[in-house]
Each structure stands twice: as structure tokens, then as C-alpha cells.
Subunit: 113 residues, 2 copies
Amino acid sequence: MAKHDPQLDLLFHALSDPTRRMMLNRLAKGPAPVTELAGPSGFKLPTILRHLSVLEEAGLVATQKDGRVRSCAFQPAALRPMTEWLDEQRKVWEARLDRLDDYVMNLMKEREK
Amino acid sequence: MAKHDPQLDLLFHALSDPTRRMMLNRLAKGPAPVTELAGPSGFKLPTILRHLSVLEEAGLVATQKDGRVRSCAFQPAALRPMTEWLDEQRKVWEARLDRLDDYVMNLMKEREK
DNA sequence: TGTATAGTTAGCAATATGGCTAAGCATGAT
DNA sequence: ATCATGCTTAGCCATATTGCTAACTATACA
């Protein structure tokens, strides 16, 4: 029944920012250090680091430090709760359409009498 | 290349709140007036109305007034930009995996020599 | 050792978000 | 005409978010 999944909050929130989506899009192409992630954005490093931590808390990015550079990697599996939620809504929606269908069918049968 | 789609911001943001997701889930089962939408949430009407306006701005819900009751309806088509973004990311991710694959294959061929 | 590089932390300011109460308006029922 | 119902608006408060600068740490390189 998925009562109150805080993971979904984190996921959707993380994706609601264009800068974070750009970062993710870059990481989908392969791992990158923080500076390269910041590069095209025009934002300062501390700002990018904050966005990065949001992505990490959502599980969308994993990072590890190698010497003085932090390497960031996209975690596609983290998207699953979201796609599952979407599927669930679709299911509910389609069930509703089916019921509507039945309803109309019954109406037509009634008319025939 | 989908540089900066504000619609995506609205969509993801709208879905990042559990109350709004609950409202949507209810609406997926069929249209409902505002009061029914508020019912199980425990929140006051003005609060719900605000959430509703967020959903409307994202295009996820359409409403119309019939007498003194406002009827709210889920708009599943509004989800498309999001699923398209997901597909796009998946594509990038998979292209990367393919390149990785090639890379490994080449490595193995080199070894054979 | 000294210097450049790559992050990191602390803290500020402006704005957005999410909840509320109180008061108002329009419509349906009596 | 009156009253209840269903929504709406205005405005308050606390907290979160998003950007910044300045100052700091830690690693690599000469």
C-alpha cells in the first residue's frame, strides 16, 4: 500500500532541480570528479557540493575519495522506487478505466431491454 | 537536448510531497471534490488547496467548478515529460555500458596477442 | 619545503514551502 | 430570508532551500 515512503520524497525532490538533473545527466555518461561536475554549471563549488549531497541522500549518486579527488558515480538502481510508484499509479488509473468500461457496457445492455 | 525544462521542475517538485502523492493516488481512482481529497489527510482545507494548486501548476490535476463544489481530475498525460526524461537518462546510461563493453572486448583482444 | 590543486566547512541572506487561523463569498436547502 | 456547506483569500510563523564568500584541510608536485 506504500503508506508514506520517505525515499520517494528524497528522490522526487532531488530530481526537481535543473542543476541536479544536469549533474546526473553528466554522470550517466560515466563517473566524474566534483570539479568536472561543477564545470559547465557556472555555480561555485560549495553550491555544487550541496546539490551533490542531495543526490547522495537520495541514493542517486555514490562518491568515494581517491587521493584529493572525489569521484562521483550515478546509481541507476536508485530510480526504481520512482518507476515503481509510476507503475502503481498507472495500474490504479487503468483499473479505473476498466470499471468505466464495464459501466458503459452495462448501460448499453440495459438500453437493449 | 532538453536544456532546462521548467515543466520537469514543476512535475518532480509536485510529486516530492507525500500529501500530494496521496491526493494524486486518490484521484487516479476517479475525480473527487476538494473536501473528499482533504478527508483522510488530517490537514485543513487551505493547506490542501495549496497542495492542489501545486498539482494544477504541474498540470497533473485539472479542476472545474460545478455549483459550489470544485471537481478535481487526474491528468495522466502530464506525467509524460518525466517518463521521457527517465528514458533519456536510461539511454545515456546504456550507451555508456555499451562503450564499456567495447572497451573490455578490446582489452581481451589485446591480451590474446 | 613551498605552492598549487581539489575539496570542505561555516555561516550569511533571500526566497520558497508547508502548516495554521480567521474571515469572506457563493450556492443549495429550508 | 436564513442557514449550512464548500470553497477561497489573506496573512502569520517556522523551517528548508539555494545561492554566496571566506577561511580551512589535505594531497600532489617541484
